[in-house]
C-alpha cells in the first residue's frame, strides 16, 4: 500500500468543516483530505431561530463552505449517489467517484415534512410554517409580523430533532414578541410535544416547564402528530386528540441524508449512521466514522455536540491511519444557551450520564446554569462569532474541553433549593 492516504469527508457543515480543519493540522501532507457537499452554502443554523422575529436577516447566516476550509483541503461540490462499503468508493451523480481510506459521514439531518399527512400540503407557507429551514424561517417572519390575535401552536412531530430546545426558545421569543407588540392577551401560545414534559432530562424539564407556565404558554404532552389539517386548522394525534390553531409552527420529522438509504449496510431505519457512542466509529465498517447530526447516538443533535465530538473523532482517525487502537472517548458532552426572551437566556450543560444541573459553568465562577440571566443571552449572541472564528477552524474554546466539567455544579435536584 502506498503512503498516499485519502480521508474523504461527506458534508461541509459544522462537523465536516471542524473535522477537516483539525485533521489538516494533525496529519502529514501526504494524506489527502477532501470535503464534499452538494452546494456552497454553509448556514449558521442556531441563527434560524431569530429570523422569524426580525432579529436576524436570513442572508447574514450563510457563508461559503469552501471559504471555511483551511489551505491543503480539497473542496468538491458534488451530490452523493451512494457509498460502496466493500469497495471503499463513494459514487456521485453524473458518474464520477472517489476512493477513500477513511470515510467521514457529516451530512447532518434533513427535514421530511412529506412524512406527516397534510404537513406539506396546501397550508404549507399559508397557515403552517417551520423555522427549521432558511426559506421556512424567512416566510414565517411576515406571518408573525401580521399576526395580532388567535392561536399559535408550536409542534414537534417526533424526536430526534436538531437542537431539542429550539422549539421552546421559539415559544419564549413569541411570548416576548407579542408582549412588545402589545397584543399578548389576544394571542394564545401552545407547545405540543411527543415527550412527557418540556424537555428530555428531568431537572431541566422541570425548570423549563416552570418557565413555560410563568410565560403563560400552554403545554400539551405525549402528542404524536398523525395529521396536520390546514383547512380546519388543527393537529390530530394518532390517538385521536385534536389541537386547533390559526398559525401552526411545526418542526417536521428528521432523517439522515437520502444517499444513506441508498447505500446498503450504512444507515438505520431513519438513515442515521449506527455509531459507537465513545469512539465515533460507525458500525458499518471500521474505516467509516460519523459525526454530528448524521450519527445515530443517544446525544442531542446540536452544534456543541459536534464540536466536542470533533476532538475525539480526529484523534481516533489519526490513530486508525497509524494502526493504533481507538482510545479517544466521547462522553456525550453537550451544552446550549436557551434564549428565553427579554434579553435573557438559560445555559444547560450535560453528557450521556449526567443530566443538566444547576450551578455555574465551566467552574464555580462562571455563567449561571439552568437559570435565566442577561449574561447567558450575551453568551448566545457572542457564540455566532465563536462559530465562524474558533469552532469551525477547529480550535478549542479556552477553558471548555470536550469532557463535561463538574466543578461548579450542584448535585442536588433543582426542585429542592
Amino acid at each position: 500500500m502506498s503512503d498516499q492516504k485519502h480521508v474523504l469527508i461527506l458534508g461541509g457543515g459544522t462537523g465536516g468543516t471542524i473535522t477537516a480543519n483539525r485533521l489538516r493540522r494533525m496529519l502529514p501532507r501526504s494524506t489527502d483530505i477532501t470535503v464534499v457537499d452538494g452546494n456552497d452554502d454553509h448556514m449558521y443554523q442556531p441563527g434560524l431561530l431569530f429570523v422569524p422575529f426580525g432579529l436576524t436577516q436570513a442572508e447574514e447566516l450563510v457563508r461559503s463552505r469552501g471559504d471555511q476550509l483551511h489551505a491543503g483541503i480539497r473542496y468538491l461540490q458534488a451530490t452523493v449517489e451512494g457509498v460502496d462499503l466493500g469497495a471503499n468508493v463513494v459514487h456521485f451523480e453524473g458518474g464520477t467517484s472517489e476512493q477513500y481510506d477513511v470515510l467521514v459521514i457529516a451530512t447532518g439531518a434533513v427535514l421530511m415534512p412529506s412524512e406527516t399527512e397534510g404537513l406539506a400540503g396546501p397550508g404549507w407557507g399559508e397557515n403552517i410554517f417551520t423555522f427549521y429551514s432558511l426559506d421556512g424561517a424567512r416566510a414565517l417572519a411576515p406571518a408573525l409580523a401580521n399576526f395580532t390575535a388567535g392561536k399559535i401552536v408550536v409542534n414537534v412531530v417526533d424526536m430526534p430533532i436538531k437542537c431539542p430546545v429550539a422549539p421552546l426558545e421559539f415559544c419564549f421569543l413569541a411570548d416576548w414578541f407579542f408582549r412588545e407588540k402589545g397584543v399578548r392577551d389576544d394571542v394564545t401560545l401552545t407547545y405540543v410535544t411527543p415527550l412527557d414534559g418540556a424537555f428530555t432530562k428531568p431537572v431541566a424539564s422541570r425548570r423549563l416547564g416552570e418557565l413555560l407556565a410563568q410565560k403563560d404558554i400552554e403545554v400539551v404532552t405525549e402528542f404524536n402528530t398523525g395529521t396536520v389539517d390546514a383547512t380546519e386548522g388543527k393537529l390530530v394525534s394518532y390517538d385521536g386528540r385534536e389541537v386547533p390553531f390559526d398559525l401552526g409552527v411545526v418542526v417536521p420529522l428528521h432523517g439522515g441524508a437520502d444517499f444513506i438509504g441508498r447505500s446498503p449496510g450504512l444507515g438505520d431505519e431513519l438513515n442515521f449512521i449506527p455509531t459507537d457512542p465513545h469512539t465515533l466509529q460507525s458500525k458499518a465498517a471500521p474505516n467509516v466514522f460519523a459525526i454530528g447530526d448524521a450519527a445515530g447516538l443517544p446525544a442531542s443533535k446540536a452544534g456543541s455536540v459536534t464540536h466536542f465530538e470533533g476532538e475525539v473523532l480526529t484523534e481516533n482517525i489519526r490513530r486508525f491511519l497509524e494502526g493504533e487502537s481507538l482510545d479517544a472517548s466521547y462522553d456525550g458532552h453537550a451544552n446550549c444557551f436557551i434564549e428565553t426572551g427579554f434579553g435573557k437566556a438559560v445555559l444547560i450543560d450535560f453528557n450521556y450520564d449526567t443530566e443538566p444541573l444547576p450551578g455555574h459553568f465551566p467552574g464555580r465562577v462562571g455563567l449561571p446554569l439552568l437559570k435565566e440571566s442577561h449574561l447567558n443571552h450575551l453568551g448566545k449572541l457572542m457564540f455566532q462569532w465563536f462559530y465562524w472564528h474558533a469552532l469551525l477552524p477547529g480550535h478549542s474554546i479556552p477553558g471548555i474541553a470536550s469532557d463535561m466539567p463538574t466543578a461548579g455544579k450542584h448535585k442536588v435536584p433543582a426542585g429542592t433549593h
Binding site: Y238, L270, A299, S300
Partner: protein, 105 residues
C-alpha cells in the same frame, strides 16, 4: 438465583412500570403484563410488536420509538395505536420488559 424462576410479583419495576432488569422478563409474564395495561386479548400482531421491541432493545440497548416501530416492525403506526391505544412505544416496552425507550434527547 435462577432468573427463569422469577415471578412477576417479584420483578423490580420503576414507578412508571418499566423493568429495572430486563433479564427478569419471560414470555409467560406477557398476558399478565398486558392485562395490567388494559389489553385482555393478545393477538399475533401484539406479539409481533412485543418481540420486535425485545430484539431492538437487546441489539441496540434502547427500545424503538413509535416512528421506528412504524417503519421497521411490519405494523403501521395507525395499527400500532389500535393495538396499544395508550401509546405503543411505552406500553409495548412495559409489556416487553424493557426500559422506557429513550427516543430522544
Amino acid at each position: 438465583m435462577n432468573v427463569a424462576t422469577v415471578e412477576l410479583a417479584d420483578v423490580a419495576r420503576n414507578d412508571e412500570g418499566f423493568f429495572l432488569d430486563p433479564s427478569q422478563w419471560s414470555d409467560a409474564m406477557v398476558p399478565a403484563l398486558a392485562a395490567q395495561e388494559g389489553i385482555s386479548y393478545l393477538t399475533d400482531r401484539h406479539w409481533q410488536v412485543i418481540r420486535f421491541m425485545r430484539s431492538e432493545y437487546l441489539e441496540k440497548g434502547t427500545g424503538p420509538t413509535v416512528r421506528v416501530l412504524g417503519k421497521a416492525s411490519g405494523v403501521s403506526i395507525k395499527e400500532l395505536y389500535e393495538l396499544f391505544p395508550k401509546g405503543p412505544a411505552k406500553v409495548a416496552a412495559r409489556i416487553a420488559g424493557i426500559p422506557k425507550p429513550r427516543g430522544c434527547i
